[in-house]
């Protein structure tokens, strides 16, 4: 039963025999198996071909002892069905051919159902779940949060200061709201469909929302994010809200009501948990750059995170962001095993 898996139990703040571990971008360029597949398929082809997405999803599960899989997809695919022409340029990340420039561009965005625009991801989920369920490993579905998707759609790619995105918020608040409503509709539907296809948990990635002030987050972002989280929770699966650089937003993030809050390394896990409250699970928070360095430092930092979690139910060990391409495979293996060993709970067994 998946509901009895370490990962799902931790999402529900139930005791586990050891702290569950998975890593963001656990299927990625640092793995030779992944690079081999990606030599043959572009990013878009890989994530649009269910058999390939399924294969990539399984790579880290077959290589390491991990407590959850995450479907191979991209946070930005919901934009494609809305009318945004997106490509992944080697070494430069996502690039958008027609970034949103006018309020008319926003009005022209569609909100078609995910079953029509992204059936490949639901198919990949079904394939992965069929293989994972007998092994009692839950599969995580995911999508980008409305703000993070809007930032790509407006900037046309990654950004340093989010000048165009914020300028839209500030100078065209009505158009911004229409954009966020459309994104919330599309993302909410997509997450629901992933759960229906078999995803046992759903993660909402708000990777760049840490660029905002508390006031802007409250005014321009939080209501739409809350809509998405509530839609996803209606499926009955636990929902994780992940962001980075948001140590100053944790009170508002807690109020969004996700089952699990994912944090980055820029805040101590115990302090973040105190702000989020005992009635939430927490996921994090080792700096992924540590994995490029020495095992000694990784171990010390992992020890500190485990000590800060203090054995309380509801901690999911993860990095504070995705695994970096230069990470040695052995480091990932070693960290997952170390966390399991270090947190193994000795239980009294009746003879």
């Amino acid at each position: 039963m998946l509901s009895d898996s370490r990962f799902i139990r931790a999402c529900r703040r139930e005791p586990t025999d050891a702290t569950p571990v998975w890593f963001m971008r656990q299927a990625g360029r640092y793995m030779p198996e992944y690079r081999a597949v990606r030599e043959k398929y572009s990013m878009l082809d890989a994530l649009r071909t269910p058999e390939i997405a399924h294969q990539i999803t399984m790579q880290p599960i077959n290589a390491f002892h991990l407590d959850a899989a995450i479907i191979f997809a991209d946070i930005l695919t919901p934009l494609i069905g809305m009318g945004i022409r997106l490509d992944f340029v080697k070494g430069e990340g996502p690039q958008i051919e027609n970034p949103l420039r006018t309020t008319r561009d926003i009005d022209l965005l569609g909100t078609p159902p995910a079953d029509e625009t992204m059936p490949y991801t639901m198919d990949a989920i079904r394939l992965a779940v069929a293989e994972l369920t007998p092994r009692n490993i839950p599969l995580i579905g995911f999508a980008g949060a409305p703000f993070t998707l809007a930032s790509y759609a407006v900037e046309g790619g990654g950004s340093k200061n989010y000048e165009a995105t914020k300028a839209l918020m500030y100078t065209e608040p009505a158009a911004w709201r229409r954009l966020m409503e459309k994104l919330a509709t599309v993302v909410g539907d997509y997450l629901v469909k992933q759960a229906e296809a078999g995803a046992a948990a759903l993660q909402v990635f708000d990777s760049w929302v840490g660029a905002l002030s508390p006031r802007d987050y409250a005014k321009f972002v939080a209501p739409y994010t809350k809509t998405v989280i509530e839609a996803a929770q209606k499926t009955g699966v636990p929902v994780i809200y992940f962001s980075t650089g948001t140590a100053g937003l944790l009170d508002q993030i807690a109020a969004l009501g996700s089952d699990v809050v994912g944090i980055d390394w820029r805040v101590a896990l115990n302090k973040a948990w105190a702000q989020i409250g005992d009635n939430r699970a927490i996921q994090g928070n080792l700096d992924p750059v540590l994995l490029l360095g020495s095992w000694r430092e990784v171990r010390q930092q992992a020890d500190q995170i485990i000590a800060q979690a203090a054995g309380r139910p509801g901690h999911i060990f993860n990095l504070g962001h995705g695994i970096l391409p230069g990470t040695p495979v052995e480091m990932v293996q070693r960290l997952a095993d170390y966390v399991h060993e270090k947190t193994a709970r000795t239980e009294t067994v009746s003879a």
Copy 2:
């Protein structure tokens, strides 16, 4: 008397007739006067020519009602005298020809006195102070903090993940310590010399230290930053420690002991002040991107910041980072005047 100026009084948490205002990068590309000078002089030439640096320093003081000037210089110039070959590439920012790659590179770095390597900045300070003091406007001197300087020296320029810098910390901790000690020596001496040349306050820019976890900050950075702040404070002028993205580090930042803590917009000013403590002044914290948008939003956010400061002595109004190049000059003017008007304290005057 400068010590009776709004800005210096606020640094000392003494009551003022209105909240003092200055802006990071107040002399910059958004000003036509600045662009006119920079058409004739490269960045390095401009900051190495005392008359030009003085002229640029005065530009915003002559254009707006500001309560402090900041010497025109760059946070990175201390690296040049140490043996780092630095240039500013148009549109791309600072670039280093010989980034630190080996521990031997670190051992070869010199620590010559600032009077020998950067006499031009002390000369520019003397020129600016001669013009500013009769107008009772204090001049701020500044330098980059050891971590931020190290990150440029190791990465060779700006960075997203600081992978090389952190790898050096983690894998060569002894070399990292030697590097930070050298930087602390050079920066501390440079700040002292700026105060001796007439700077009435000193700001330490740790712009990128928000990339670190609380543990790494404590272990690899804070001791050296503290050394710099203490050296600067021995001159008797107030010291401001500025950083961004550090909402999770504020307890440690308070412990560094600077007179003023500069924060960015990613944390509410009242919450930050509560963490820093009442015995410190605070500087900030409007998102500079707001100035690219509508005055209505700027005013609302300024109102909120002023309300959060709650009239307590010790608030210096500033942005959370430097003014962006695309900022309309009128917006800067209007904001400075608005803060002064909004915070003007009605005082009982005996007849």
